[in-house]
Symmetry: C2
Subunit: 264 residues, 2 copies
């Protein structure tokens, strides 16, 4: 079970996280809106040269600074999975946005201590926006403290979903039940939607069938900004490689109201 961590991120690890996000920016900028070699992974998501170069660079930086730390990356799998400290890397979350020239993507980094995320980063390498959160402590956008919204009613809530095609029929129906009651719904923003939830301009985020590296970097940011992350039954996320449903809400009242509509 993944619970809000009470461990603060050690300063030298915070420094490394920022240094990694800094280092991958020029790599990603070099390939943005250029013709890229794109191949198909087993799950048919596009993988680009930029993805691989960025993750390789971050892995080298972690191994140089903290050789006993573990790594879980989107592109190159597990390294020292039994370590106390594990880095979770998603070099380009929102690859479809990236490939098609949209700014709705980001580099995601999480640091886990004994399975609990203590630090999360969403970095937009083109605009220079960096969201950083420490669970239970704080969330910032470019060093300015941010808070989730105080929107309480579904009717007033802006709902984002990263990709409707990730839901099965049941998930799609439950999502629609909520979205039809909301102020409006938007899609196709991946991690950028979580960043906007932490910023207070989006109120609810629904995800289905997502990987751990998609979500774990977002947890400390959302929770650091006062938001709540559970599955669609209101349970904490399991310690798993994939999550069938994820609900992120700006506050407790809205979280409860959303669960009422999402529950079977």
């Amino acid at each position: 079970m993944i619970a809000p961590s009470t461990t603060l991120c050690p300063p030298d690890m915070l420094d490394l996280a920022n240094a990694m996000a800094d280092a991958v920016r020029p790599v990603i900028r070099r390939y943005f809106r250029t013709r890229m070699v794109v191949d198909a992974k087993s799950d048919a998501s596009p993988v680009t040269i930029a993805d691989r170069e960025a993750e390789t660079l971050m892995r080298q930086m972690i191994s140089a600074r903290f050789p006993d730390h573990g790594i879980r990356g989107e592109e190159f799998g597990l390294h020292q999975p039994e370590a106390d400290w594990i880095w979770v890397l998603d070099p380009i979350d929102g690859t479809k946005s990236f490939i098609s020239g949209s700014l709705a993507f980001g580099t995601q980094i999480a640091l886990l201590h004994r399975g609990q995320p203590v630090l999360g980063i969403i970095d937009q390498p083109i605009t220079g926006e960096r969201w950083l959160g420490q669970a239970g402590a704080i969330a910032v956008l470019n060093d300015v403290v941010i808070r989730c919204s105080e929107t309480r009613r579904i009717e007033d809530a802006v709902v984002y979903t990263s990709a409707l095609e990730h839901f099965d029929a049941d998930g799609g129906a439950r999502c629609s039940r909520l979205a039809n009651r909301a102020r409006f719904q938007r899609t196709s923003h991946d991690c950028y939607a979580a960043a906007l939830l932490a910023l207070g301009t989006v109120d609810l985020l629904l995800e289905g069938n997502v990987h751990d590296y998609d979500i774990l970097p977002q947890l400390p940011i959302i929770e650091g900004a006062g938001g709540i992350v559970t599955d669609w039954e209101g349970q904490p996320l399991a310690d798993a490689r994939q999550f069938k449903t994820v609900l992120m809400a700006a506050n407790k009242g809205l979280h409860a109201a959303a669960l009422d509509l999402l529950r079977d």
Copy 2:
């Protein structure tokens, strides 16, 4: 009928178009990601203070420089509709994106000569990206010439749609028939999707039940970048205030392939 214009935009009108886009940037930036008063128009789309202030400013600039020109704006309707030269203004296209903090919105400006669009601008006031097109002549992003893609096959095409909820059941089914064959589909980007089509990173754009001010500013940009704009039957857009279907394609081959799937 709206056809690619052979009239080039006079330099003093081009200057005014750029000056208007410059002038509204600080207005829109002032309200971006802040709490705004939002009310509901008859079609339930959100209208913000930023929208109204930006359109008012542009109308004042047009009337001061070219008092005999006509104006069609999203917020304040028609002014001198019989004039030879008509400015079409959409201060914030993608209001839902704007309200929720996403960058997938823009200021749109078109200049029509006797009903035919000769100049179009899509300006992103936060990132400072400005797409500008002259029909049959050229399209640029921040003064760099851009071209639509050479993608020929539906299977290789990236398809954007601004909002699936704009389609009726028949339109949704036709859109899905095409999208299911495409490389992938993304939504919720409004005018920013048209900008990416002109840039060559998006290959097809499908719209349903959109207003003239949504589309007319995009025509000279798409056509200036070598793309094609018709309805879903392959006909030029009618000279109307609303378009039931719009298809934008990167090139002739892809346009024909898309029509094959869209036609009833």
